[in-house]
């Protein structure tokens, strides 16, 4: 792929400063993330709950709370528009040019994300007026059909929509301005398997020559279904990334192996122990380097751990701390 990336993350870190009542600690939510999203890719960002996946998405959209700060680079570079440095851009630029227009967001539990007292059509039409200047009935319905919604269903209120239909309304809303990048944050949580498959397939169809999808999920089956590329996150760091078939087929990092081994078809063994508290990461990394070693009793047998948490590139794949022998 010779195209340039749509989204270009280098050494991106996000920290939260907790107040004095919480011991004035610092939460290491994202540390030195390095990711590329190219047109045509569905990049799945996977990992256990609380590893920092959703914070990374929020940071890209400028939706972090006031006690958070970020550093590093996250460059949005698409088509003819000027590049935007997402972490440094002022809120006015993010609100007017980025959110909805250049980056679409598909949120978790769409049913609660929609305004409960307005129909799906009213909300989708509002997005059209805001982002495209006018809401043409035929265009609204064409977009609904594209995401697999019967236009008649648009006249329902959110509580009358099933979880899957509500999720499709959310996907349609994210597509109104045809943004080149779509970020889907846990779009399938709480949906049953056939609906998970429909929503993930829909996201897969979005990734075409012009567009890239960043799929944030803890559902490894959903990720394996549509992702072209995958990045595995553990305790604020990406520990492994590469083409999805290769990473799922032959995981290099012991955490990736353990995570796949927790699936019913992978052996159903939970990853032993608990992830470290995100407030203690700096200290643990000083002491251990690779913080997964705390949960990985068999480290020496898996791959040589160099204790260096930064990603090392091997061809199309990258892995932290445990380079393949």
């Amino acid at each position: 792929m010779q195209q340039s990336p749509l989204l270009w993350l280098d050494d991106m870190s996000v920290r939260f400063e907790l107040g004095r009542s919480r011991g004035s600690e610092t939460v290491h939510a994202v540390t030195d993330a390095r990711l590329r999203l190219f047109p045509g890719q569905v990049l799945a960002l996977v990992g256990e709950s609380g590893c920092g996946k959703s914070v990374l998405a929020s940071a890209l959209l400028g939706l972090l709370p006031a006690n958070a700060w970020s550093r590093g680079r996250a460059l949005l570079s698409s088509g003819t528009d000027e590049d935007v440095e997402l972490l440094a851009a002022p809120e006015s630029v993010l609100a007017r040019e980025v959110r909805g227009r250049r980056v679409g967001l598909v949120p978790q539990s769409a049913a609660t994300h929609l305004t409960p007292v307005r129909t799906a059509r009213a909300q989708l039409s509002e997005a059209f007026r805001e982002l495209r200047g006018r809401a043409d009935r035929a265009e609204v319905e064409a977009l609904a059909r594209r995401v697999g919604l019967d236009p008649d269903e648009l006249d329902h209120y959110p509580h009358e929509l099933s979880g899957g239909m509500a999720q499709r309304v959310a996907v349609a809303s994210a597509l109104v301005a045809e943004p080149p990048v779509v970020i889907a944050d846990e779009p399938t949580t709480g949906l049953d398997r056939p609906l998970v498959e429909r929503v993930t397939d829909l996201l897969g169809e979005l990734a075409d020559r012009e567009r890239g999808v960043l799929l944030i999920t803890h559902d490894l089956d959903a990720a394996a279904r549509v992702a072209t590329h995958v990045a595995v996150m553990y305790a604020s760091r990406v520990v492994e990334s590469g083409p999805a078939a290769e990473v799922f087929g032959e995981p290099w990092h012991p955490y990736t192996k353990r995570l796949l081994g927790a699936l019913p078809e992978g052996g159903f063994q939970p990853v032993p122990g608990h992830p470290p508290a995100l407030t203690e990461l700096a200290e643990l990394e000083r002491e251990w380097g690779c913080v997964f070693c705390l949960r990985c009793p068999e480290t020496p047998g898996v791959a040589p751990c160099n204790g260096e948490p930064r990603l090392v590139e091997h061809g199309r794949r990258s892995v932290a701390a445990h380079p393949p022998c």
């Binding site: 990992g47 256990e48 709950s49 609380g50 099933s162 979880g163 949580t189 709480g190 949906l191 049953d192 398997r193 056939p194 609906l195 803890h218 490894l220 353990r258 995570l259 927790a262 699936l263 019913p264 078809e265 159903f268 063994q269 939970p270 990853v271 608990h274």
Partner: protein, 213 residues
């Protein structure tokens, strides 16, 4: 044995969601129930957990029929069946600490010193003891669901209904909580009904004993 016989149940003014359902949950085993959204799995869970009165049909608990004009269920019957729901957040009082949440069924039954039992339950369910002092909004979904499972196990129920217990959780937490429940089956002979739309999960959990709706 916990069983539903010819159960017809639904909600006000609506059609019956369950129309003559027979399901039994034996002691000391895990029975799976699989089916798509909206097929009535959760309504059956509520009926078997004695939280919802069926329109007709009976629920039988260890040979005793649960009945009565106001569906009044004796306390020892109610604490004989525990239930864990899919979503932990709406299932807890947001003003209580995790320790208060887990100990509530014990305090209701008049236990004076539930502290040791709560500590033991936290350890069994893999809930870090330090988290017991926190409020629900200060913990993750996975941690809160561990507390909900601990609460359901607190009165040592003879039966446990797990209604999409792991639907919101990541793969590792899912595998861990399933192990906690199967541990109860082996050690205390608990009878478990595991409800999910995910058949591969149920097969890993209940083996071949999966009812499909």
């Amino acid at each position: 044995m916990l069983s539903a016989r010819g159960v017809v149940a639904g909600y006000a003014r609506g059609r019956a969601v369950l129309d003559g359902v027979d399901v039994t949950v034996p002691r000391g085993a895990v029975r799976g129930l699989a089916g798509p959204s909206g097929c009535g799995k959760s309504t059956l869970a509520r009926v078997l957990a004695l939280l919802q009165r069926p329109w007709s049909g009976t629920v039988e608990l260890d040979g005793r029929e649960i009945r009565g004009a106001r569906y009044s269920v004796p306390r020892e019957s109610r604490t004989s069946v525990g239930i864990v729901f899919q979503q932990p957040r709406p299932a807890v009082d947001p003003r209580m600490t995790l320790r208060e949440i887990v100990s509530e069924p014990l305090r209701v039954r008049g236990a004076r010193q539930p502290r040791a039992r709560v500590d033991e339950l936290a350890e069994t369910t893999g809930l870090d003891a330090e988290l017991l002092g926190r409020m629900p909004h200060e913990v993750s979904d996975g941690q809160l669901q561990r507390a909900c499972l601990a609460r359901a196990m607190a009165p040592r129920p003879r039966y446990l209904i797990c209604d999409e217990m792991t639907g919101m959780l990541d793969a590792s937490t899912t595998a861990a909580l399933v192990r906690v429940v199967t541990g109860r089956v082996a050690e205390e002979g608990t009878g478990v009904l595991a409800i999910s739309h995910d058949e591969s999960l149920l097969r890993a959990w209940a083996g071949d004993d999966v009812i499909r709706w």
